[in-house]
């Protein structure tokens, strides 16, 4: 934290000459490595603004296709009644702000910048397609509700902290399972119902080492993987049986 504040002190003079709205932003890290031991991560975003205002931070992961499964009643049972492939929706969508966004910006501006959680689903495609508009809306509502419940879509109006009217910071908390790729981080400076400055940052999320290699091999050379892995399980089983069996006798 000390280093963070120190760097902000150096940023201040840079901002002094910027009369209209301007933003300076820094991330504590711009990459996340997913290894077997990865269980979630936190990246701090901090910066300064040239004029006092409110801050909105939008974090959007690459699209991730998921399937939506619907359960229904069949006799005494609750069973799956088929599923819809959901495409062109971000895996993760955060709207972190220093105050409720609907209080600081009119609908048209929010829509233009994608500052409502429902905007995450604007391009949503379903296969098989929903029969009519109402059914489509039901699917969208379900996706939004489930994504919010799991913490993948978050709107938090208290997440951004403003210090002394000019400095701001927020923690981007990433869950244990997250889509890979480049995450877009957009920072908006809002003043008098307008967006007066924006900044863009990227966070890259990648699998590292073995995990990347294994999931690559298992999907691209699935037959080779299957044969080699199954044989090695057989050998491992034999080996363990012999070793443990021998130690038992002694």
């Amino acid at each position: 934290m000390k280093r963070l504040l120190l760097s902000l002190v150096f940023l201040m003079p840079v901002l002094a000459w910027a009369q209209s709205g301007d933003l300076v932003t820094e991330l504590t890290r711009d990459h996340v490595d997913i290894s077997a031991r990865y269980t979630g991560d936190q990246i701090t975003l901090f910066g300064a603004m040239s004029v006092p205002g409110q801050i909105v931070v939008k974090v959007r992961s690459p699209d991730q296709s998921v399937a939506l499964e619907k359960k229904g009643r069949a006799g005494p049972f609750w069973l799956s009644q088929g599923k819809h492939e959901i495409k062109q929706v971000p895996g993760l969508y955060y709207l972190l702000s220093s105050a409720p966004i609907d209080g600081m910006l009119p609908v048209s501006v929010r829509a233009a910048h994608g500052l409502d959680l429902t905007d995450a689903l604007k391009k949503m495609q379903t296969t098989p397609a929903a029969g009519n508009a109402a059914a489509g809306q039901t699917l969208k509502d379900a996706v939004l509700r489930l994504k919010q419940a799991r913490g993948y879509y978050v709107a938090d109006p208290k997440a951004v902290e403003i210090l002394g009217g000019r400095l701001y910071s927020t923690a981007i908390k990433l869950p244990a399972q997250l889509p890979l790729g480049e995450y877009d981080v957009d920072i908006y400076l809002v003043r008098n119902g307008q967006v007066v400055a924006t900044q863009h940052r990227k966070i890259s999320v990648d699998e590292v080492q073995m995990e990347h290699w294994i999931s690559g091999v298992a999907s691209q050379h699935s037959w080779t993987f299957g044969v080699v892995f199954t044989l090695s399980m057989l050998l491992l089983g034999l080996f363990l049986g012999v070793v443990l069996g021998r130690s038992k006798k002694n």
Partner: protein, 304 residues
């Protein structure tokens, strides 16, 4: 300590999986069952997608049955000819089953089918074990066995394609073991079980094989059936998780040794009673899962 499973796409507690493997290995050492029928539901309970649970279960059985098969083979307890004929059936059954699994998964019904199969299977196995072990505890179990002999063998003996099985001392139509193998192969693909619990009674009561040869032969054919299904599930459905399978094999190898040692000292009837209760409890838990109305009718699952 959590690890990330690259195929299941989820985090899971490493110790939990070792314990699962250990418990199943322990039971299998203690009572002499394969234990595949317990690992799949346990994995589904902790959130592993049903198809990955079933496929990885098959891979795990390859590991755990390898040393047992080898030991029986060295002792000459394997009727290779019978095992080969059974394998013709179970390999084709396995291949058909893996494609059935693929179709069901694409339609979103795989989880449902697996749940029903397990509730039925575990309910049946658990309750019959419960009755059997309670009878044994009361000392009434001894006389029942001999009634089965005498009848049967009529239509089975008249089938074409008769063949000699010298190790088992049998003459039998090829059709019978091939059909049985086919059924077991499908079960392996859909449930991730070896099918020993079906194979053993069928070999003893229907095929009339000597008991000593039955265990070795069933283990031997089970090893190759699960190996085939494991390869196919990885190739066709991309559903075998290597980390998960590896940890399960390690856990169950340790559990088996421990279970075998303890099993030699404890009374068998009580052990079987415990196992029966565990099996019934798992079946009841799965049944409740589909009887109670879910909180949210929709759920998100990973797309394949």
């Amino acid at each position: 300590m959590d690890i990330f499973l690259p195929i299941a796409h989820m985090d899971i507690n490493l110790l939990l999986i070792i314990v699962f493997g250990g418990v199943v290995g322990f039971l299998s050492g203690l009572v002499g069952v394969g234990g595949g029928f317990l690992i799949t539901p346990l994995l589904i309970f902790v959130g592993v997608p049903p198809l990955v649970a079933v496929a990885t279960g098959a891979a795990q059985i390859v590991g755990t049955s390898a040393s047992g098969s080898y030991a029986h083979w060295r002792l000459g307890n394997v009727d290779i000819r019978m095992a080969f004929v059974l394998l013709i059936g179970s390999w084709s059954g396995g291949a058909v089953g893996v494609h059935i699994a693929k179709v069901l998964e694409a339609g979103g019904h795989f989880g449902t089918i697996v749940t029903f199969l397990y509730v039925g299977l575990l309910g049946f196995v658990g309750i019959s074990m419960l009755i059997e072990s309670l009878n044994a505890l009361r000392g009434a179990g001894k006389k029942q066995k001999k009634d089965v002999k005498g009848e049967g063998g009529g239509w089975v003996a008249r089938l074409p394609l008769q063949m000699e099985f010298p190790v088992s001392g049998l003459r039998l139509s090829l059709i019978v073991p091939v059909v049985i193998g086919f059924g077991v192969g499908i079960l392996t693909s859909l449930m991730g079980v070896g099918g020993g619990f079906i194979m053993v009674p069928v070999m003893i009561y229907l095929l009339r094989m000597p008991t000593k040869v039955v265990v070795g032969t069933s283990l031997f054919q089970l090893l190759f059936t699960t190996a085939e299904v494991s390869i196919l599930q990885a190739g066709v459905n991309h559903a075998v998780d290597p980390f998960l399978a590896l940890v399960l094999v390690l856990g169950s190898a340790l559990g088996t040794q421990w279970g075998t040692k303890l099993g030699a000292r404890l009374p068998g009837e009580q052990l079987r009673l415990i196992l029966a209760l565990v099996v019934v409890a798992v079946a009841v838990k799965m049944l409740f899962g589909i009887l109670i109305k879910p909180e949210d009718l929709y759920s998100l699952v990973p797309a394949r």
